[in-house]
């Protein structure tokens, strides 16, 4: 790093204080991002195994099948125990250990202080603690695979009584979740205070980049929605370990034996507490992605975002509404028609601000001068892909059509369009876009475009057929769909999906090569290679400890591109005068 006398105390720190137990938001951000990416890769690998079983049920997995222990595969043939573990852990890992840490912990930590012109987060020690608590949670989840009976296997939703009766993997799952939730709570408090308190001079709320707004609302969601799940997790832990019956009704007979529990509990209570978190959680997964896409669209269309203010109002509205839609996941639990009426109405209401944001992003293209670099391609693809995810939410949000589609592959298709070609594409866009800021080098455009086009094709090949399977009524979480005639009739689709999934995995190789190759061979760049306007580009690449060479002040909104009368087509927020 270069010499910056004012903040140079970092230079004298030993290696482990500087890069491992660091207090610097950028190091913590990179730690989060790298850990998150590794977990995404791991969760993806788990589902690759599942895809073999789904395409060729009961056939031995070639080549690597015999590497697995007897408790996972016998003669290379996957056991249902292992299938259920893979399914539950894929969901858990992707959501809680992959996407959220990458989107909030990684991008949020790295970019928010830079974009608001702050030297660091408000509470650096809390920040470090939040990462290490997350790390512990991740270790516990991973360790659970090595338990005698393996990891959690009751789905990422862990519905009792099944989860209460499950083997010790579930206890680890609950403990892991307590750590992950605690980490998110620490992180979200930090973001809220940082954004509220540490904005540079002149950076009013309506001059914040949309990404910061998205992180701000996301933090409130995490802060307010996670505690009920943490409480629920502890209650389930008590049910499992201390003999309570919060979620266990009386009179259970399991495998012919009357269960010796005190009873009187209610399994539906868990579902309310779980979804009270898990619906806001989907907005936690999507809002940072929308923020990233907004930044990249503005920069590469060379014009302001269309309807910035209505986007901000929409994101705030989403924040509020996302707390009153949770029971649309529970239409078929037998709740009354009045209750379901209420939740159908709120669900349709929340679609309005989401549509406004998506429309505003798409309209932002109109009148631009569009550069098609790799981050922009991923950001553009986000729009129709998220669109499909959002639209297919309609039949699930209306209770009458949900009767047929609930708990089928239609649901899997729907939310994967939101999180995989939606959020994950936005996260890729973000990696390509900010890589030069973090490393001082650009990633390869050629490899990037190969990565993009193949990913786009294959990811649609993976998820589009799932809608047909869902319409056919195929239940999700089936170890062997061919056991049912109505599911077996869609089996050719399963083969097709699996092949696309494996090709999708191959399509990630250019990304991995590009990522590591560019660290060494990437073209060196200056502080503002994309000619962007927001504050992070005013800092050196990579930014030193303390971020800016001089404390920045802000003179205008975040997206002043192609302002008439200006010599250049971008007018950075921190420039006092014309450029």
């Amino acid at each position: 790093m270069k010499e910056h006398s004012s903040h140079s105390h970092s230079a004298s720190l030993p290696f482990w204080r500087k890069y491992i137990f660091s207090l610097d938001h950028k190091v913590i951000g990179v730690q989060y991002a790298v850990t998150g990416l590794l977990f995404l890769l791991f969760g993806f690998t788990l589902i690759m195994l599942i895809r073999w079983q789904l395409a060729y049920p009961g056939q031995p997995l070639p080549v690597i099948g015999h590497l697995f222990s007897e408790k996972m595969m016998v003669g290379g043939i996957m056991l249902p125990e292992f299938y259920n573990q893979l399914g539950a852990m894929h969901g858990t890992i992707m959501v809680f250990l992959g996407v959220v840490p990458l989107a909030v912990g990684g991008f949020g930590n790295y970019l928010v202080p830079l974009q608001i012109g702050a030297p660091d987060m408000a509470f650096p020690k809390l920040n470090m603690m939040s990462y290490w608590v997350y790390f512990m949670g991740g270790l516990i989840m991973l360790a659970s695979f090595f338990l005698p009976e393996g990891a959690a296997q009751s789905g990422w939703t862990s519905y009792p009584p099944l989860a209460n009766l499950a083997s010790s993997g579930q206890t680890f799952w609950l403990l892991g979740m307590v750590f992950l939730i605690t980490s998110s709570l620490l992180g979200s408090v930090n973001f809220i205070v940082t954004i509220a308190q540490l904005r540079a001079d002149g950076l009013s709320f309506f001059r914040l980049p949309f990404f910061v707004w998205a992180q701000f609302i996301t933090s409130f969601l995490l802060l307010l929605a996670f505690p009920p799940l943490e409480a629920a997790g502890v209650l389930q832990l008590m049910d499992r370990l201390a003999g309570t019956s919060f979620f266990m009704p009386s009179g259970l007979v399991v495998a012919g034996e009357q269960l010796a529990v005190s009873g009187g509990g209610n399994p539906v209570l868990w579902q309310h507490l779980f979804w009270f978190l898990a619906h806001p959680e989907v907005y936690v997964l999507i809002l940072p992605a929308m923020g990233i896409v907004a930044e990249i669209l503005a920069c590469n269309t060379r014009k302001p975002i269309y309807g910035y203010r209505s986007m901000v109002y929409s994101v705030v509205a989403i924040g509020f509404l996302s707390f009153v839609v949770w029971a649309h996941h529970m239409f078929l639990t037998g709740m009354g028609t009045k209750m379901s009426g209420f939740f159908q109405i709120t669900t349709m209401m929340i679609s309005v601000p989401s549509v406004i944001i998506l429309t505003a992003l798409a309209l932002s293209l109109w009148g631009g001068s569009i550069r098609f670099n790799t981050p922009m391609l991923f950001a553009i693809a986000f729009l129709p892909m998220f669109g499909i995810g959002g639209l297919t939410g309609l039949p699930l949000g209306l209770a009458a059509s949900d009767v047929h589609l609930h708990d089928t592959y239609y649901v899997i298709g729907h939310f994967h369009y939101v999180v995989a070609p939606g959020t994950i594409f936005a996260l890729f866009a973000g990696v390509y876009h900010w890589f030069p800021k973090v490393t001082g080098r650009k990633m390869s455009e050629v490899l990037g475009k190969i990565h993009f086009f193949f990913s786009l094709i294959f990811i649609n090949g993976v998820f589009m057929p799932m809608f047909l399977m869902g319409l056919a009524g195929v239940s999700r979480r089936l170890y062997d769909p061919t056991q049912y005639a109505h599911a077996g009739s869609t089996q050719p689709l399963n083969v097709f999906v699996s092949i696309c999934a494996w090709l999708l995995a191959l399509a990630q190789i250019p990304f991995v090569l590009n990522f590591f190759g560019s660290l060494i061979f990437g073209k060196k760049v200056d502080r503002n290679p994309w000619e962007a306007t927001t504050l992070e580009w005013a800092a050196p690449s990579p930014p030193p400890h303390g971020n800016f060479d001089e404390v920045p002040a802000v003179y205008r909104g975040p997206y002043e591109y192609s302002v008439p009368g200006q010599a250049r087509d971008f007018w950075p927020q921190h420039m006092a005068k014309e450029n």
Binding site: R371, I380, D407, S475, R477, D480, A485, S489
Partner: protein, 263 residues
């Protein structure tokens, strides 16, 4: 070839219930709407990308443009959602959930789900269910029927086979012994979670005879994937014959050893 494949395919399976066509109509309307919206929007996207690509002599426009159409589309979508809610989904869900006929006109059946089977319990010719108790549940008496209780003598139980007459409403009471299951009959557009401790109810009326699948739609353990049952929809005569054949003629068999506490 699987004989069932004429009922099942890629997309919605055949629909043989009286309420099902309304669900299908909603699903179709929704998908046409989604497709039109997506197509229009996609055309816009491609147009914008081509027309505003970076090229020599072309520059971006700073001024915020005012678009009327998107606002109209937005309002249109919101209005359409209101129609979907109040004209389709809410009343339809209400009709599906609330039994539209006097209870006594319907065939009454109880479902007791367990890992990994569907047990069915018919009240028999008197139309009244005998008592059941968890303490009596055993492999030979899966629903825990107390044969000595009043009205129990003529009760019928079956495993994984739900026999119903065609063209007659069936009212199904759902309970679970152990974990949450979900009672799904794809061809009847029936699905309802079966939650231990919280009985629930669904009804349907089949329009066609035949044998179809019952599936479990909620992960319930290792055998979730093979928790497969059958619904056998028969003509009224066939059904009555079956009923006559199944009705226990002799008084209740002596209670098995496990049940001695029940008297």
């Amino acid at each position: 070839m699987n004989p069932a494949s004429k009922f099942y395919g890629w997309g919605l399976p055949v629909d043989i219930s009286t309420h099902g066509p309304e669900i299908d109509r909603l699903i179709h309307v929704l998908h046409v709407f989604m497709f039109l919206l997506f197509a229009g929007w996609f055309v816009f996207l491609v147009l914008a990308l081509v027309r505003f690509r970076k090229r020599p002599g072309h520059a971006a426009v700073y001024k915020e443009q005012h678009f009327k159409t998107p606002t109209y589309v937005e309002v249109g979508v919101a209005l359409f959602e209101i129609v979907l809610l109040f004209a389709f989904s809410i009343p339809l869900f209400y009709r599906i959930r609330n039994i539209p006929f006097p209870q006594q006109d319907a065939l009454q059946v109880r479902v007791v789900a367990e890992q990994f089977a569907w047990n069915f319990h018919y009240p028999g010719s008197d139309g009244i269910f005998g008592q059941t108790k968890p303490s009596l549940m055993s492999p030979s008496n899966p629903v825990g029927l107390d044969r000595n209780s009043p009205n129990a003598a003529d009760d019928i139980t079956t495993i994984n086979q739900l026999h119903v007459p065609v063209n007659r409403p069936v009212s199904v009471e759902l309970a679970s012994k152990d974990v949450i299951h979900s009672f799904a009959i794809p061809v009847l557009r029936v699905k309802q979670d079966v939650i231990p401790g919280t009985p629930s109810r669904v009804w349907f009326q089949a329009k066609q005879t035949g044998n179809f699948e019952i599936a479990c739609a909620q992960l319930c353990g290792l055998g979730h994937y093979r928790m497969r049952g059958f619904i056998m929809i028969k003509t009224e005569d066939e059904y009555n014959n079956w009923l006559a054949k199944m009705t226990p003629v002799k008084p209740a068999p002596p209670a098995p050893a496990v049940t001695q506490g029940a008297t």
